[in-house]
């Protein structure tokens, strides 16, 4: 009898808990302007007229960002960005606990101004475990770029305009309530869908296809 009463109480408590959770949890962010502000053309890929825009806030020292880059981004670029379905925008969001991530962001932005941002990004993510111990971002990139390119990249990386660009990305991220990386903000038809964490390509492409089916 006591056990039956306990079971009934448990069921009632669970139902109450679920109702409260459903009421409290977000039902999706209200729609925002379809145009994405402050896009650095050197850090954006694909057609601006693509139906979906994706802003990826990441930190070069973040292991989850490395995983996202390795398992999802390349397939996304091949199947959605290059086919004009997605406009992909990279945003820098260096986290305070990562000592060298801002430095890495500087170098990647500098390389991007020479049209080599993608290569710099891949190099830093692939060698993340090495340079995050010593902070030797310069040495890591020097292994893949020519001496002439590295000279230009170093000069650009020291520029203060890159600091301002990174700060702008951080401010944008805070506007979206980004507090961890990677966070992807998907824009479609005036609606905004924030996605936190490492989303596998299988999951992402099903979602994108579902959005596009509403086009």
């Amino acid at each position: 009898m006591n056990r039956r009463r306990l079971l009934v109480n448990l069921v009632l408590l669970s139902a109450a808990g679920l109702s409260v959770s459903a009421a409290l949890l977000s039902a999706g962010v209200p729609g925002q302007a379809s145009s994405v502000p402050d896009v650095d053309p050197h850090r954006a890929y694909g057609s601006k007229n693509a139906p979906i825009a994706m802003e990826v806030f990441s930190d070069f020292q973040c292991p989850a960002c490395k995983q996202l880059n390795k398992t999802t981004n390349q397939l996304l670029v091949d199947n959605y960005v290059n086919t004009n379905k997605v406009y992909l925008i990279h945003r820098d969001f260096p986290l305070p606990m990562h000592a060298y991530s801002r430095l890495a962001a500087h170098y990647v932005r500098a390389a991007a101004q020479l049209g080599k941002g993608e290569q710099a990004e891949q190099t830093l993510f692939q060698n993340q475990e090495k340079w995050e111990q010593t902070g030797d971002v310069d040495g890591t990139l020097a292994g893949v770029f020519t001496v002439a390119d590295m000279t230009k990249i170093r000069a650009l990386a020291k520029g203060t305009s890159l600091d301002a660009a990174i700060d702008k990305d951080i401010a944008l991220g805070k506007g979206y309530n980004v507090n961890q990386t990677p966070t992807t903000i998907i824009h479609y038809k005036g609606q905004t869908y924030p996605v936190v964490g490492v989303v596998s390509y299988d999951v992402l492409h099903q979602f994108l296809d579902q959005l596009l089916a509403q086009h």
Partner: protein, 173 residues
């Protein structure tokens, strides 16, 4: 007149274990399903949020470098539901000896993994409640304490099962 009080140290530990461990397991499973993305509506957003959260959890499992990508995906897709089911079963108290033993085994596995990661200086998140929680000595002690409680609960459940409940026992003359 009852010969023995229905509440003794063993039964108190069993009750504490059921409530605390049951609640923790339910919360752990729930958190893995609903964190960090918690969009419930519309339905396709719910599906996407769940899938994205499990994908993130799979990455956390893989970061322990015990299982590969495929194994981590299997664990990520099953463990949250196993935890919720186990938590409910502990709270309800049905077949307690079995489920207390399962809970003890699972907690022992968690403690071994977390301790191994700590000793290897792996800078990864625990993944216990899906939040960014780095592995530390404090985490190991917490897991150790929960394992001890689970172990005591299991042992006492087996001991209690051998004895009739005092309220049902026939009164002596």
């Amino acid at each position: 007149m009852m010969q023995a009080s229905p509440l003794n140290f063993r039964r108190a530990v069993i009750w504490l274990g059921r409530l605390l461990l049951g609640g923790i397991f339910i919360y752990a499973g729930y958190a893995k399903l609903t964190y960090p993305n918690h969009n419930l509506w519309p339905y396709f957003m719910l599906k996407f949020s769940l899938a994205a959260n499990l994908s993130t959890f799979a990455f956390q499992v893989e970061s322990y470098k015990v299982l590969g990508a495929a194994g981590s995906a299997v664990v990520a897709r099953t463990l949250p539901f196993v935890e919720i089911a186990l938590g409910v079963l502990l709270l309800v108290g049905w077949q307690l000896r079995i489920w207390a033993s399962v809970a003890t085994a699972i907690l022992l596995g968690f403690l071994v993994l977390v301790t191994r990661a700590y000793l290897l200086h792996m800078e990864i998140n625990c993944g216990c409640f899906a939040t960014p929680e780095p592995i530390s000595l404090k985490k190991i002690f917490q897991d150790g304490a929960l394992l001890l409680l689970a172990l005591l609960m299991t042992v006492f459940a087996f001991q209690e099962a051998r004895k009739p409940h005092p309220w049902t026992a026939a009164p002596s003359d």
